[in-house]
């Protein structure tokens, strides 16, 4: 089974999501970024687009307007504004 990490999605208005996931794809300025557990610590500027998280079979999607991703080894925090918020 794939290793999991914690995903936290926060907007200025409220926390949106918190759970452990196996993978994450997010829209960076120069193309999509994939994140798995134990990713090297990073800070990524996000543009408008779709964020997709997978937990084994399940997948979830959010439309974001932009923001920042804070990637740590065991946790990724998305600091974003949502489309239509």
């Amino acid at each position: 089974m794939a290793k999991r990490f914690e995903l936290l999605i926060l907007t200025p208005n409220q926390p949106i999501f918190q759970a452990t996931v196996t993978s994450l794809v997010m829209p960076a300025e120069e193309g999509y970024w994939g994140v798995l557990a134990r990713h090297i610590p990073s800070i990524v500027k996000l543009r408008a687009g779709k964020v997709r998280a997978r937990t084994n079979g399940d997948s979830k999607e959010w439309d974001i307007k932009g923001g920042f991703a804070w990637v740590e080894r065991e946790r990724t925090t998305l600091l974003v504004e949502l489309e239509g918020d």
Partner: protein, 280 residues
């Protein structure tokens, strides 16, 4: 004449009942607004705290950006966060006292005033005003604070001020009004160098990241202040209602005493008159 004092007492009782009703209604409004302000504050804190931790984790010793520039302080900028309306006890005075304290430490000052009460307070004082701003006391967004953030941060970048502070009331608990001063600029290099991947590369990422970090902090300070203001208004209206009720109780006792005295006097006059007639 006792009749007149009874009428006077009745008039005062009625007036104070009106005041108590009014302050009680204001208290209930403030309680509802406090709940809303608190909800918004608590929902936003995780975002702002994460932005702060993330951004501060790369304040490496060798990082370079104009926001880190330490200059000799000739003029300091202060963002003063007050309220739009009064009737909130010592809320604004606490802030002004904190600002006066800070003013002692800088040779010259440029003020950015939030709220009508601060604008009125500083209008008659000899300080230079960099801008005046007003926000709805509830339900403002990150975008609403941009004019304030741009004006104050821009003044630092243009060298008009050499340091920037924000003075606001941090919301610890309802009723605890603690004026708080925080230095926004220049930023302090305090993180340990670590390996990090940046996308885009650091020199392109830094400016939007640091700007957003500062904006988020200003946004948070205004949310903290808004919850504090509502709680101050609730407490001050609660105290006013209690005082009015206490006064009302005293007046009613006095009124009843007067009325009793009047009745006693009338009865004794009638009895006295009857006795006199019998005797005659």
């Amino acid at each position: 004449m006792p009749g007149k004092s009874l009428r006077e007492l009745r008039r005062r009782i009625k007036a104070i009942m009106g005041i108590a009703k009014l302050t009680d209604a204001m208290k209930k409004v403030a309680a509802a607004r406090l709940r809303r302000a608190q909800r918004q504050l608590f929902a936003s804190r995780p975002y702002v705290e994460a932005i702060s931790s993330m951004t501060e984790s790369i304040f490496f010793p060798n990082i370079s950006h104009p926001f880190f520039e330490e200059r000799e302080v000739r003029r300091g900028g202060i963002i003063v966060v007050s309220s739009e309306r009064g009737l909130c006890g010592g809320y604004n005075m606490n802030i002004f006292r904190e600002v006066e304290h800070l003013l002692g430490g800088v040779p010259d000052v440029l003020l950015f005033l939030v709220g009508r009460i601060a604008q009125r307070h500083f209008a008659r004082r000899p300080y230079k005003i960099g801008g005046s701003f007003s926000f709805p006391s509830l339900g403002f967004s990150m975008e609403d604070i941009l004019p304030l953030a741009r004006a104050s941060i821009g003044a630092f970048l243009q060298g008009e001020i050499d340091t920037l502070y924000i003075v606001y009331t941090h919301f610890h608990a309802p009723g605890a009004l603690i004026p708080t001063t925080r230095r926004l600029l220049p930023l302090e290099r305090k993180a340990e160098e670590r390996e990090f991947l940046f996308e885009p590369k650091l020199e392109d990422l830094l400016d939007p990241l640091l700007t957003h970090y500062l904006h988020s902090f200003i946004f948070r300070a205004l949310l903290e202040a808004s919850a504090s203001e509502q709680s101050a208004r609730f407490i001050s209206m609660d105290m006013a209602t209690q005082n009015a009720n206490r006064l009302l109780q005293n007046l009613r006792i006095q009124y009843n005493k007067e009325r009793q005295a009047l009745i006693t006097k009338e009865i004794s006059e009638i009895v006295g008159g009857a006795e006199a007639l019998k005797g005659g």
